[in-house]
Symmetry: D2
Subunit: 166 residues, 4 copies
Protein backbone atom coordinates (compact mmCIF):
# COMPACT_ATOMS: atom_id res chain seq x y z
CA UNK A 1 0.00 0.00 0.00
CA UNK A 2 1.38 3.37 -0.95
CA UNK A 3 3.34 5.01 -3.74
CA UNK A 4 7.04 5.27 -4.42
CA UNK A 5 9.01 7.16 -7.02
CA UNK A 6 11.60 4.45 -7.43
CA UNK A 7 14.37 6.61 -6.04
CA UNK A 8 15.70 3.64 -4.19
CA UNK A 9 14.88 4.52 -0.62
CA UNK A 10 12.99 1.78 1.19
CA UNK A 11 11.16 3.02 4.25
CA UNK A 12 11.38 0.85 7.36
CA UNK A 13 8.66 -1.77 7.76
CA UNK A 14 5.66 -0.48 9.61
CA UNK A 15 3.44 -2.91 11.44
CA UNK A 16 1.46 -1.13 14.08
CA UNK A 17 -2.07 -1.74 15.26
CA UNK A 18 -3.20 1.76 14.40
CA UNK A 19 -2.53 1.06 10.72
CA UNK A 20 -5.28 -1.57 10.63
CA UNK A 21 -8.08 0.87 9.91
CA UNK A 22 -6.32 3.12 7.39
CA UNK A 23 -8.67 4.86 4.96
CA UNK A 24 -8.07 3.05 1.63
CA UNK A 25 -8.19 6.39 -0.21
CA UNK A 26 -5.44 7.89 1.96
CA UNK A 27 -2.96 8.32 -0.88
CA UNK A 28 -5.33 10.22 -3.17
CA UNK A 29 -6.50 12.35 -0.26
CA UNK A 30 -2.92 13.34 0.62
CA UNK A 31 -1.91 14.00 -2.99
CA UNK A 32 -5.00 16.19 -3.55
CA UNK A 33 -4.22 18.22 -0.46
CA UNK A 34 -0.52 18.54 -1.32
CA UNK A 35 -1.45 19.71 -4.82
CA UNK A 36 -3.39 22.61 -3.31
CA UNK A 37 -0.38 23.83 -1.28
CA UNK A 38 0.92 26.74 -3.32
CA UNK A 39 4.08 26.86 -1.22
CA UNK A 40 5.15 23.30 -2.02
CA UNK A 41 4.89 24.03 -5.75
CA UNK A 42 6.71 27.34 -5.27
CA UNK A 43 9.56 25.47 -3.53
CA UNK A 44 9.64 22.81 -6.26
CA UNK A 45 8.79 20.12 -3.70
CA UNK A 46 7.11 16.79 -4.48
CA UNK A 47 5.96 13.73 -2.55
CA UNK A 48 8.39 10.93 -3.35
CA UNK A 49 7.14 8.28 -0.92
CA UNK A 50 3.69 7.91 0.58
CA UNK A 51 2.74 5.06 2.89
CA UNK A 52 0.47 4.77 5.93
CA UNK A 53 2.21 6.75 8.61
CA UNK A 54 5.21 7.69 6.41
CA UNK A 55 5.86 10.42 3.86
CA UNK A 56 8.96 11.56 2.02
CA UNK A 57 9.15 14.98 0.35
CA UNK A 58 12.00 16.06 -1.94
CA UNK A 59 13.04 19.45 -3.30
CA UNK A 60 15.87 19.93 -5.82
CA UNK A 61 18.40 22.69 -5.28
CA UNK A 62 17.60 26.12 -6.77
CA UNK A 63 19.08 29.50 -5.91
CA UNK A 64 15.55 30.54 -4.89
CA UNK A 65 15.79 28.24 -1.86
CA UNK A 66 19.03 29.53 -0.35
CA UNK A 67 20.25 31.32 2.74
CA UNK A 68 23.12 33.79 2.59
CA UNK A 69 25.83 31.13 2.01
CA UNK A 70 24.02 29.48 -0.90
CA UNK A 71 22.99 26.43 1.10
CA UNK A 72 19.35 25.42 1.44
CA UNK A 73 17.65 27.86 3.86
CA UNK A 74 16.55 26.40 7.20
CA UNK A 75 13.09 27.66 6.30
CA UNK A 76 12.95 25.18 3.41
CA UNK A 77 13.97 22.32 5.67
CA UNK A 78 11.30 23.45 8.11
CA UNK A 79 8.62 23.80 5.45
CA UNK A 80 9.08 20.42 3.74
CA UNK A 81 9.60 18.59 7.03
CA UNK A 82 6.44 20.22 8.41
CA UNK A 83 4.47 19.16 5.31
CA UNK A 84 5.94 15.65 5.51
CA UNK A 85 4.92 15.36 9.17
CA UNK A 86 1.46 16.75 8.47
CA UNK A 87 0.82 14.35 5.61
CA UNK A 88 2.31 11.35 7.44
CA UNK A 89 -0.27 12.08 10.13
CA UNK A 90 -3.00 12.73 7.56
CA UNK A 91 -2.58 9.24 6.05
CA UNK A 92 -3.89 7.86 9.36
CA UNK A 93 -6.86 10.23 9.65
CA UNK A 94 -10.43 9.46 8.60
CA UNK A 95 -11.63 10.32 5.08
CA UNK A 96 -13.80 13.19 6.26
CA UNK A 97 -11.18 15.13 8.21
CA UNK A 98 -8.77 17.99 7.89
CA UNK A 99 -5.17 18.30 9.11
CA UNK A 100 -3.51 21.10 11.06
CA UNK A 101 0.02 21.64 12.39
CA UNK A 102 -0.10 22.56 16.08
CA UNK A 103 3.64 23.10 16.51
CA UNK A 104 7.03 21.85 15.46
CA UNK A 105 10.63 22.06 16.64
CA UNK A 106 13.59 21.61 14.33
CA UNK A 107 17.29 21.24 15.06
CA UNK A 108 19.67 22.10 12.25
CA UNK A 109 22.53 19.58 12.33
CA UNK A 110 24.76 20.42 9.39
CA UNK A 111 24.89 22.89 6.49
CA UNK A 112 22.35 21.80 3.88
CA UNK A 113 24.81 21.88 0.99
CA UNK A 114 23.86 19.59 -1.89
CA UNK A 115 21.67 18.90 -4.91
CA UNK A 116 18.47 17.81 -3.24
CA UNK A 117 16.77 18.20 0.13
CA UNK A 118 14.87 15.16 1.43
CA UNK A 119 12.46 15.16 4.38
CA UNK A 120 11.37 11.77 5.74
CA UNK A 121 8.58 11.82 8.30
CA UNK A 122 6.83 9.14 10.28
CA UNK A 123 4.14 9.02 12.93
CA UNK A 124 5.61 8.28 16.36
CA UNK A 125 2.32 8.21 18.26
CA UNK A 126 -1.09 8.14 16.65
CA UNK A 127 -3.76 9.43 19.00
CA UNK A 128 -7.27 10.13 17.84
CA UNK A 129 -6.99 13.93 18.03
CA UNK A 130 -3.23 14.45 18.05
CA UNK A 131 -0.52 12.65 16.15
CA UNK A 132 3.12 13.14 17.17
CA UNK A 133 5.48 12.90 14.21
CA UNK A 134 9.24 12.93 13.67
CA UNK A 135 11.06 13.92 10.51
CA UNK A 136 14.68 13.74 9.48
CA UNK A 137 16.01 15.95 6.73
CA UNK A 138 18.90 14.86 4.53
CA UNK A 139 20.77 16.74 1.84
CA UNK A 140 21.95 14.63 -1.09
CA UNK A 141 25.16 15.21 -3.08
CA UNK A 142 25.50 12.54 -5.75
CA UNK A 143 24.86 9.29 -3.92
CA UNK A 144 25.78 10.56 -0.47
CA UNK A 145 23.19 11.81 2.00
CA UNK A 146 24.02 14.04 4.96
CA UNK A 147 21.67 14.25 7.93
CA UNK A 148 21.10 18.00 8.16
CA UNK A 149 18.02 18.48 10.36
CA UNK A 150 15.63 16.67 12.69
CA UNK A 151 12.08 17.66 13.65
CA UNK A 152 9.44 16.77 16.23
CA UNK A 153 5.91 17.91 15.36
CA UNK A 154 2.41 17.81 16.86
CA UNK A 155 -0.33 17.43 14.25
CA UNK A 156 -4.06 17.75 14.88
CA UNK A 157 -7.00 15.99 13.26
CA UNK A 158 -10.10 18.11 12.68
CA UNK A 159 -12.82 15.48 12.24
CA UNK A 160 -15.87 16.13 10.07
CA UNK A 161 -14.14 19.01 8.34
CA UNK A 162 -13.38 18.15 4.74
CA UNK A 163 -9.84 19.18 3.83
CA UNK A 164 -10.98 20.47 0.41
CA UNK A 165 -13.23 23.05 2.01
CA UNK A 166 -10.71 24.60 4.38
Amino acid sequence: MGISDGSGYTPPMVNKPELAGVDPEFAQRVLDSFERQGLMKHLGARIAQLHPGRVEIRAPYRSELTQQHNYFHAGVSGAIADSACGYAAYTLMPADSSVLTVEYKINLLAPAAGEELIARAHVVRSGKTLKICAADVYVRSGDAETHCATMLATIMCLPGKNDRLG
Copy 2:
Protein backbone atom coordinates in the same frame (compact mmCIF):
# COMPACT_ATOMS: atom_id res chain seq x y z
CA MET B 1 19.65 53.74 15.53
CA GLY B 2 18.03 51.45 13.00
CA ILE B 3 15.71 51.63 10.02
CA SER B 4 11.96 51.68 9.77
CA ASP B 5 9.62 51.51 6.81
CA GLY B 6 7.12 53.89 8.32
CA SER B 7 4.42 51.25 8.53
CA GLY B 8 3.42 52.60 11.89
CA TYR B 9 4.60 49.84 14.18
CA THR B 10 6.75 51.14 17.02
CA PRO B 11 8.91 48.44 18.58
CA PRO B 12 9.09 48.42 22.39
CA MET B 13 11.90 50.47 23.91
CA VAL B 14 15.08 48.50 24.29
CA ASN B 15 17.58 49.55 26.88
CA LYS B 16 19.81 46.68 27.80
CA PRO B 17 23.47 46.66 28.71
CA GLU B 18 24.35 44.28 25.89
CA LEU B 19 23.30 46.92 23.36
CA ALA B 20 26.09 49.26 24.48
CA GLY B 21 28.72 47.76 22.22
CA VAL B 22 26.65 47.25 19.08
CA ASP B 23 28.65 47.27 15.84
CA PRO B 24 27.73 50.63 14.21
CA GLU B 25 27.53 48.92 10.81
CA PHE B 26 24.99 46.37 12.03
CA ALA B 27 22.18 47.53 9.75
CA GLN B 28 24.21 47.36 6.56
CA ARG B 29 25.64 43.99 7.59
CA VAL B 30 22.15 42.54 8.15
CA LEU B 31 20.71 44.00 4.95
CA ASP B 32 23.64 42.64 2.90
CA SER B 33 23.15 39.18 4.34
CA PHE B 34 19.36 39.27 3.89
CA GLU B 35 19.85 40.34 0.28
CA ARG B 36 21.84 37.16 -0.37
CA GLN B 37 19.04 34.89 0.94
CA GLY B 38 17.42 33.60 -2.22
CA LEU B 39 14.51 32.19 -0.23
CA MET B 40 13.47 35.54 1.28
CA LYS B 41 13.28 37.06 -2.22
CA HIS B 42 11.40 34.00 -3.49
CA LEU B 43 8.85 34.45 -0.68
CA GLY B 44 8.56 38.19 -1.39
CA ALA B 45 9.78 38.99 2.12
CA ARG B 46 11.48 42.23 3.18
CA ILE B 47 12.95 43.70 6.34
CA ALA B 48 10.53 46.38 7.56
CA GLN B 49 12.16 47.22 10.90
CA LEU B 50 15.77 46.79 11.95
CA HIS B 51 17.08 47.87 15.34
CA PRO B 52 19.69 46.48 17.72
CA GLY B 53 18.21 43.24 18.99
CA ARG B 54 14.94 43.61 17.02
CA VAL B 55 13.91 42.78 13.45
CA GLU B 56 10.58 42.77 11.67
CA ILE B 57 10.08 40.91 8.38
CA ARG B 58 6.94 41.20 6.23
CA ALA B 59 5.65 39.15 3.31
CA PRO B 60 2.51 40.08 1.33
CA TYR B 61 -0.03 37.40 0.48
CA ARG B 62 0.47 35.46 -2.76
CA SER B 63 -1.01 32.14 -3.81
CA GLU B 64 2.57 30.83 -3.97
CA LEU B 65 2.76 30.99 -0.17
CA THR B 66 -0.33 28.96 0.70
CA GLN B 67 -1.25 25.71 2.36
CA GLN B 68 -4.21 23.66 1.18
CA HIS B 69 -6.86 26.06 2.51
CA ASN B 70 -5.33 29.15 0.86
CA TYR B 71 -3.98 30.56 4.12
CA PHE B 72 -0.28 31.32 4.53
CA HIS B 73 1.58 28.01 4.92
CA ALA B 74 3.12 27.36 8.36
CA GLY B 75 6.40 26.96 6.50
CA VAL B 76 6.29 30.65 5.52
CA SER B 77 5.65 31.68 9.12
CA GLY B 78 8.53 29.46 10.16
CA ALA B 79 10.88 30.78 7.48
CA ILE B 80 10.34 34.50 8.05
CA ALA B 81 10.27 34.13 11.85
CA ASP B 82 13.51 32.13 11.68
CA SER B 83 15.14 34.82 9.53
CA ALA B 84 13.83 37.55 11.84
CA CYS B 85 15.28 35.74 14.88
CA GLY B 86 18.59 35.12 13.12
CA TYR B 87 18.98 38.75 12.08
CA ALA B 88 17.80 40.12 15.43
CA ALA B 89 20.66 38.08 16.93
CA TYR B 90 23.05 39.11 14.15
CA THR B 91 22.58 42.83 14.94
CA LEU B 92 24.31 42.13 18.27
CA MET B 93 27.22 40.11 16.84
CA PRO B 94 30.67 41.49 16.00
CA ALA B 95 31.41 42.81 12.51
CA ASP B 96 33.59 39.86 11.58
CA SER B 97 31.17 37.07 12.37
CA SER B 98 28.63 34.80 10.77
CA VAL B 99 25.20 33.72 12.01
CA LEU B 100 23.66 30.25 12.20
CA THR B 101 20.29 28.93 13.38
CA VAL B 102 20.81 26.07 15.85
CA GLU B 103 17.12 25.25 16.34
CA TYR B 104 13.69 26.76 16.58
CA LYS B 105 10.25 25.78 17.84
CA ILE B 106 7.07 27.35 16.54
CA ASN B 107 3.48 27.12 17.77
CA LEU B 108 0.75 27.92 15.27
CA LEU B 109 -1.97 29.84 17.09
CA ALA B 110 -4.56 30.74 14.46
CA PRO B 111 -5.12 30.33 10.72
CA ALA B 112 -2.84 32.81 8.91
CA ALA B 113 -5.63 34.29 6.79
CA GLY B 114 -4.94 37.84 5.62
CA GLU B 115 -3.08 40.19 3.30
CA GLU B 116 0.33 40.27 4.92
CA LEU B 117 2.38 38.10 7.24
CA ILE B 118 4.52 39.94 9.81
CA ALA B 119 7.26 38.35 11.95
CA ARG B 120 8.61 40.42 14.86
CA ALA B 121 11.67 39.02 16.60
CA HIS B 122 13.74 40.17 19.53
CA VAL B 123 16.72 38.86 21.45
CA VAL B 124 15.68 37.48 24.84
CA ARG B 125 19.17 36.58 26.05
CA SER B 126 22.38 37.65 24.36
CA GLY B 127 25.24 35.35 25.24
CA LYS B 128 28.58 35.56 23.50
CA THR B 129 28.18 32.33 21.54
CA LEU B 130 24.43 31.75 21.70
CA LYS B 131 21.58 34.22 21.48
CA ILE B 132 18.08 33.10 22.46
CA CYS B 133 15.39 34.88 20.45
CA ALA B 134 11.61 35.02 20.42
CA ALA B 135 9.40 35.95 17.50
CA ASP B 136 5.70 36.55 17.17
CA VAL B 137 3.97 36.23 13.83
CA TYR B 138 0.88 38.28 12.98
CA VAL B 139 -1.34 38.19 9.93
CA ARG B 140 -2.78 41.55 8.87
CA SER B 141 -6.23 42.06 7.29
CA GLY B 142 -6.78 45.75 6.65
CA ASP B 143 -5.81 47.42 9.91
CA ALA B 144 -6.37 44.39 12.12
CA GLU B 145 -3.55 42.07 13.13
CA THR B 146 -4.12 38.52 14.38
CA HIS B 147 -1.45 36.76 16.41
CA CYS B 148 -0.98 33.56 14.41
CA ALA B 149 2.31 32.03 15.58
CA THR B 150 5.02 32.29 18.24
CA MET B 151 8.62 31.05 18.05
CA LEU B 152 11.57 30.42 20.36
CA ALA B 153 14.93 30.10 18.60
CA THR B 154 18.57 29.45 19.47
CA ILE B 155 21.01 31.35 17.24
CA MET B 156 24.79 30.85 17.14
CA CYS B 157 27.56 33.34 16.49
CA LEU B 158 30.50 32.03 14.46
CA PRO B 159 33.24 34.52 15.28
CA GLY B 160 36.00 35.33 12.80
CA LYS B 161 33.96 33.89 9.94
CA ASN B 162 32.83 36.62 7.56
CA ASP B 163 29.19 36.17 6.64
CA ARG B 164 29.88 37.11 3.00
CA LEU B 165 32.21 34.15 2.57
CA GLY B 166 29.92 31.42 3.88
Copy 3:
Protein backbone atom coordinates in the same frame (compact mmCIF):
# COMPACT_ATOMS: atom_id res chain seq x y z
CA MET C 1 -10.81 36.91 41.00
CA GLY C 2 -7.93 34.69 42.01
CA ILE C 3 -5.54 34.23 44.88
CA SER C 4 -2.24 35.87 45.71
CA ASP C 5 0.31 35.20 48.40
CA GLY C 6 1.13 38.84 48.88
CA SER C 7 4.69 38.42 47.64
CA GLY C 8 4.35 41.67 45.82
CA TYR C 9 4.27 40.51 42.23
CA THR C 10 1.32 41.93 40.32
CA PRO C 11 0.50 39.96 37.20
CA PRO C 12 -0.27 42.00 34.06
CA MET C 13 -3.92 42.91 33.54
CA VAL C 14 -5.77 40.31 31.57
CA ASN C 15 -8.85 41.30 29.66
CA LYS C 16 -9.56 38.79 26.94
CA PRO C 17 -12.90 37.55 25.66
CA GLU C 18 -12.09 33.93 26.50
CA LEU C 19 -12.02 34.84 30.18
CA ALA C 20 -15.72 35.75 30.16
CA GLY C 21 -16.94 32.22 30.79
CA VAL C 22 -14.42 31.13 33.38
CA ASP C 23 -15.66 28.43 35.75
CA PRO C 24 -16.19 30.26 39.08
CA GLU C 25 -14.69 27.30 40.94
CA PHE C 26 -11.47 27.41 38.90
CA ALA C 27 -9.21 28.25 41.85
CA GLN C 28 -10.40 25.41 44.06
CA ARG C 29 -10.23 23.00 41.13
CA VAL C 30 -6.60 23.95 40.39
CA LEU C 31 -5.54 23.84 44.05
CA ASP C 32 -7.13 20.40 44.50
CA SER C 33 -5.31 19.05 41.47
CA PHE C 34 -1.99 20.64 42.47
CA GLU C 35 -2.36 19.13 45.94
CA ARG C 36 -2.50 15.66 44.38
CA GLN C 37 0.78 16.13 42.48
CA GLY C 38 3.29 14.23 44.61
CA LEU C 39 6.16 15.74 42.64
CA MET C 40 5.28 19.35 43.44
CA LYS C 41 5.26 18.56 47.17
CA HIS C 42 8.53 16.62 46.80
CA LEU C 43 10.11 19.68 45.15
CA GLY C 44 8.73 22.00 47.84
CA ALA C 45 6.75 23.93 45.23
CA ARG C 46 3.59 25.95 45.91
CA ILE C 47 1.14 28.04 43.90
CA ALA C 48 1.80 31.68 44.80
CA GLN C 49 -0.51 33.36 42.27
CA LEU C 50 -3.62 31.96 40.63
CA HIS C 51 -5.79 33.98 38.25
CA PRO C 52 -7.78 33.11 35.14
CA GLY C 53 -5.16 32.30 32.53
CA ARG C 54 -2.20 32.98 34.85
CA VAL C 55 -0.37 30.91 37.45
CA GLU C 56 2.82 31.48 39.43
CA ILE C 57 4.64 28.60 41.14
CA ARG C 58 7.56 29.07 43.55
CA ALA C 59 10.09 26.64 44.99
CA PRO C 60 12.69 27.63 47.61
CA TYR C 61 16.28 26.50 47.21
CA ARG C 62 17.24 23.13 48.68
CA SER C 63 20.26 20.97 47.94
CA GLU C 64 17.78 18.30 46.79
CA LEU C 65 16.96 20.43 43.73
CA THR C 66 20.47 20.97 42.37
CA GLN C 67 22.53 20.08 39.37
CA GLN C 68 26.24 19.40 39.65
CA HIS C 69 27.23 23.02 40.30
CA ASN C 70 24.71 23.52 43.14
CA TYR C 71 22.37 25.66 41.04
CA PHE C 72 18.72 24.70 40.57
CA HIS C 73 18.59 21.77 38.11
CA ALA C 74 17.03 22.52 34.71
CA GLY C 75 14.64 19.67 35.47
CA VAL C 76 13.16 21.71 38.34
CA SER C 77 12.68 24.74 36.09
CA GLY C 78 11.05 22.44 33.55
CA ALA C 79 8.80 20.75 36.12
CA ILE C 80 7.45 23.88 37.82
CA ALA C 81 7.10 25.78 34.53
CA ASP C 82 5.23 22.79 33.04
CA SER C 83 2.88 22.68 36.05
CA ALA C 84 2.40 26.45 35.88
CA CYS C 85 1.51 26.23 32.17
CA GLY C 86 -0.80 23.28 32.74
CA TYR C 87 -2.68 25.00 35.55
CA ALA C 88 -2.82 28.37 33.76
CA ALA C 89 -4.58 26.46 30.97
CA TYR C 90 -6.71 24.51 33.44
CA THR C 91 -8.16 27.72 34.94
CA LEU C 92 -9.87 28.28 31.57
CA MET C 93 -11.23 24.74 31.17
CA PRO C 94 -14.75 23.62 32.10
CA ALA C 95 -15.47 22.23 35.56
CA ASP C 96 -15.87 18.69 34.33
CA SER C 97 -12.56 18.33 32.50
CA SER C 98 -9.04 17.07 32.95
CA VAL C 99 -5.74 18.63 31.85
CA LEU C 100 -2.81 17.05 29.99
CA THR C 101 0.57 18.39 28.82
CA VAL C 102 1.07 17.57 25.14
CA GLU C 103 4.58 18.98 24.85
CA TYR C 104 6.84 21.76 26.02
CA LYS C 105 10.09 23.38 25.00
CA ILE C 106 12.33 25.24 27.40
CA ASN C 107 15.38 27.42 26.82
CA LEU C 108 17.76 27.86 29.73
CA LEU C 109 18.97 31.47 29.71
CA ALA C 110 21.20 31.83 32.76
CA PRO C 111 22.44 29.72 35.68
CA ALA C 112 19.59 29.36 38.19
CA ALA C 113 21.65 30.50 41.17
CA GLY C 114 19.56 31.96 43.98
CA GLU C 115 17.22 31.42 46.92
CA GLU C 116 13.96 30.78 45.12
CA LEU C 117 12.82 29.63 41.70
CA ILE C 118 9.70 31.32 40.29
CA ALA C 119 7.74 30.15 37.24
CA ARG C 120 5.14 32.55 35.81
CA ALA C 121 2.87 31.13 33.14
CA HIS C 122 0.07 32.58 31.06
CA VAL C 123 -2.21 31.35 28.31
CA VAL C 124 -1.18 32.77 24.94
CA ARG C 125 -3.98 31.20 22.91
CA SER C 126 -7.02 29.51 24.40
CA GLY C 127 -8.58 27.09 21.94
CA LYS C 128 -11.32 24.71 22.96
CA THR C 129 -9.16 21.58 22.83
CA LEU C 130 -5.65 23.02 22.96
CA LYS C 131 -4.28 25.92 24.96
CA ILE C 132 -0.86 27.32 24.08
CA CYS C 133 0.95 28.69 27.12
CA ALA C 134 4.19 30.54 27.81
CA ALA C 135 6.14 30.59 31.04
CA ASP C 136 9.13 32.54 32.23
CA VAL C 137 11.29 31.27 35.04
CA TYR C 138 13.16 33.64 37.34
CA VAL C 139 15.60 32.93 40.12
CA ARG C 140 15.46 35.31 43.07
CA SER C 141 18.45 36.39 45.19
CA GLY C 142 17.33 38.83 47.84
CA ASP C 143 15.19 41.33 45.97
CA ALA C 144 16.75 40.74 42.56
CA GLU C 145 15.23 38.39 40.00
CA THR C 146 17.19 36.92 37.10
CA HIS C 147 15.35 35.60 34.05
CA CYS C 148 16.76 32.07 33.83
CA ALA C 149 14.43 30.13 31.51
CA THR C 150 11.56 30.52 29.08
CA MET C 151 9.02 27.89 27.99
CA LEU C 152 6.39 27.36 25.30
CA ALA C 153 3.88 24.59 26.03
CA THR C 154 0.88 22.94 24.41
CA ILE C 155 -1.79 21.86 26.90
CA MET C 156 -4.83 19.71 26.13
CA CYS C 157 -8.31 19.74 27.62
CA LEU C 158 -9.95 16.34 28.10
CA PRO C 159 -13.64 17.24 28.40
CA GLY C 160 -16.03 15.12 30.43
CA LYS C 161 -13.16 13.49 32.31
CA ASN C 162 -13.09 14.57 35.92
CA ASP C 163 -9.55 15.43 37.00
CA ARG C 164 -10.02 13.72 40.37
CA LEU C 165 -10.62 10.37 38.73
CA GLY C 166 -7.53 10.27 36.51
Copy 4:
Protein backbone atom coordinates in the same frame (compact mmCIF):
# COMPACT_ATOMS: atom_id res chain seq x y z
CA MET D 1 33.79 0.50 26.82
CA GLY D 2 31.13 1.66 29.22
CA ILE D 3 29.11 0.33 32.10
CA SER D 4 25.87 -1.61 32.25
CA ASP D 5 23.67 -2.66 35.11
CA GLY D 6 22.76 -5.96 33.54
CA SER D 7 19.11 -5.04 33.20
CA GLY D 8 19.10 -6.69 29.82
CA TYR D 9 18.80 -3.69 27.53
CA THR D 10 21.45 -3.68 24.82
CA PRO D 11 21.97 -0.26 23.30
CA PRO D 12 22.29 -0.11 19.51
CA MET D 13 25.82 -0.47 18.13
CA VAL D 14 27.57 2.85 17.82
CA ASN D 15 30.37 3.22 15.32
CA LYS D 16 30.84 6.84 14.45
CA PRO D 17 34.03 8.73 13.69
CA GLU D 18 33.48 11.20 16.53
CA LEU D 19 33.81 8.35 19.02
CA ALA D 20 37.44 7.77 18.05
CA GLY D 21 38.88 10.37 20.40
CA VAL D 22 36.71 9.70 23.43
CA ASP D 23 38.32 10.64 26.75
CA PRO D 24 39.15 7.27 28.37
CA GLU D 25 37.98 8.60 31.74
CA PHE D 26 34.56 9.55 30.40
CA ALA D 27 32.62 7.10 32.57
CA GLN D 28 34.16 8.24 35.86
CA ARG D 29 33.75 11.88 34.86
CA VAL D 30 30.03 11.38 34.15
CA LEU D 31 29.40 9.36 37.30
CA ASP D 32 31.16 11.99 39.44
CA SER D 33 29.05 14.74 37.95
CA PHE D 34 25.81 12.75 38.25
CA GLU D 35 26.63 12.05 41.89
CA ARG D 36 26.73 15.78 42.57
CA GLN D 37 23.22 16.36 41.14
CA GLY D 38 21.04 16.63 44.21
CA LEU D 39 17.90 16.41 42.10
CA MET D 40 18.75 13.01 40.61
CA LYS D 41 19.22 11.56 44.09
CA HIS D 42 16.01 13.24 45.27
CA LEU D 43 14.14 11.60 42.37
CA GLY D 44 15.74 8.23 43.09
CA ALA D 45 17.34 8.17 39.65
CA ARG D 46 20.46 6.25 38.69
CA ILE D 47 22.60 5.75 35.59
CA ALA D 48 21.90 2.24 34.32
CA GLN D 49 23.86 2.36 31.04
CA LEU D 50 26.80 4.54 30.14
CA HIS D 51 28.60 4.32 26.81
CA PRO D 52 30.26 6.86 24.53
CA GLY D 53 27.39 8.91 23.15
CA ARG D 54 24.69 6.93 25.02
CA VAL D 55 23.25 7.08 28.52
CA GLU D 56 20.29 5.39 30.18
CA ILE D 57 18.79 6.72 33.43
CA ARG D 58 16.16 4.88 35.46
CA ALA D 59 13.88 5.96 38.30
CA PRO D 60 11.58 3.56 40.18
CA TYR D 61 7.99 4.59 40.91
CA ARG D 62 7.33 6.49 44.14
CA SER D 63 4.34 8.57 45.10
CA GLU D 64 6.77 11.53 45.39
CA LEU D 65 7.15 11.52 41.60
CA THR D 66 3.50 11.73 40.57
CA GLN D 67 1.13 14.10 38.87
CA GLN D 68 -2.51 14.37 39.91
CA HIS D 69 -3.54 10.97 38.51
CA ASN D 70 -0.74 9.05 40.22
CA TYR D 71 1.27 8.56 37.04
CA PHE D 72 4.87 9.76 36.79
CA HIS D 73 4.82 13.56 36.43
CA ALA D 74 5.96 14.93 33.05
CA GLY D 75 8.53 16.91 35.00
CA VAL D 76 10.24 13.67 36.02
CA SER D 77 10.35 12.48 32.42
CA GLY D 78 11.78 15.86 31.46
CA ALA D 79 14.35 15.88 34.25
CA ILE D 80 15.78 12.40 33.70
CA ALA D 81 15.68 12.72 29.90
CA ASP D 82 17.48 16.07 30.17
CA SER D 83 20.15 14.56 32.42
CA ALA D 84 20.48 11.56 30.08
CA CYS D 85 20.95 13.89 27.07
CA GLY D 86 23.42 16.07 28.94
CA TYR D 87 25.54 13.12 30.06
CA ALA D 88 25.35 11.37 26.66
CA ALA D 89 26.84 14.58 25.26
CA TYR D 90 29.31 14.88 28.13
CA THR D 91 30.81 11.43 27.36
CA LEU D 92 32.09 12.93 24.10
CA MET D 93 33.53 16.11 25.62
CA PRO D 94 37.16 16.66 26.61
CA ALA D 95 38.33 15.85 30.15
CA ASP D 96 38.72 19.49 31.11
CA SER D 97 35.23 20.70 30.20
CA SER D 98 31.83 21.37 31.69
CA VAL D 99 28.37 20.57 30.30
CA LEU D 100 25.30 22.81 30.00
CA THR D 101 21.77 22.27 28.68
CA VAL D 102 20.87 25.02 26.21
CA GLU D 103 17.30 23.88 25.57
CA TYR D 104 15.09 20.85 25.21
CA LYS D 105 11.69 19.99 23.82
CA ILE D 106 9.67 17.01 25.00
CA ASN D 107 6.52 15.43 23.64
CA LEU D 108 4.47 13.34 26.04
CA LEU D 109 3.15 10.33 24.13
CA ALA D 110 1.27 8.23 26.67
CA PRO D 111 0.45 8.25 30.39
CA ALA D 112 3.58 7.23 32.30
CA ALA D 113 1.83 4.53 34.33
CA GLY D 114 4.18 1.79 35.56
CA GLU D 115 6.85 0.68 37.98
CA GLU D 116 9.92 2.34 36.50
CA LEU D 117 10.68 5.27 34.23
CA ILE D 118 13.56 4.78 31.76
CA ALA D 119 15.20 7.56 29.72
CA ARG D 120 17.53 6.48 26.89
CA ALA D 121 19.53 9.24 25.25
CA HIS D 122 22.01 9.32 22.40
CA VAL D 123 24.00 11.97 20.60
CA VAL D 124 22.53 12.67 17.16
CA ARG D 125 25.13 15.22 16.07
CA SER D 126 28.39 15.88 17.89
CA GLY D 127 29.75 19.32 17.07
CA LYS D 128 32.68 20.79 18.95
CA THR D 129 30.63 23.37 20.87
CA LEU D 130 27.09 21.99 20.56
CA LYS D 131 25.86 18.42 20.70
CA ILE D 132 22.32 17.64 19.58
CA CYS D 133 20.82 14.72 21.50
CA ALA D 134 17.62 12.71 21.38
CA ALA D 135 16.05 10.76 24.22
CA ASP D 136 13.15 8.38 24.42
CA VAL D 137 11.38 7.75 27.69
CA TYR D 138 9.71 4.42 28.45
CA VAL D 139 7.62 3.34 31.39
CA ARG D 140 8.01 -0.29 32.44
CA SER D 141 5.26 -2.48 33.89
CA GLY D 142 6.61 -5.96 34.56
CA ASP D 143 8.40 -6.88 31.34
CA ALA D 144 6.47 -4.51 29.09
CA GLU D 145 7.79 -1.09 28.16
CA THR D 146 5.55 1.72 26.85
CA HIS D 147 7.07 4.60 24.90
CA CYS D 148 5.78 7.58 26.89
CA ALA D 149 7.90 10.57 25.82
CA THR D 150 10.46 11.73 23.28
CA MET D 151 12.95 14.61 23.60
CA LEU D 152 15.26 16.67 21.39
CA ALA D 153 17.94 18.62 23.28
CA THR D 154 20.79 21.01 22.55
CA ILE D 155 23.77 20.58 24.88
CA MET D 156 26.78 22.89 25.11
CA CYS D 157 30.40 22.15 25.91
CA LEU D 158 32.20 24.74 28.04
CA PRO D 159 35.87 23.96 27.36
CA GLY D 160 38.55 24.63 29.94
CA LYS D 161 35.96 24.81 32.72
CA ASN D 162 36.27 21.86 35.05
CA ASP D 163 32.85 20.40 35.85
CA ARG D 164 33.79 19.90 39.51
CA LEU D 165 34.31 23.60 40.00
CA GLY D 166 31.02 24.83 38.59
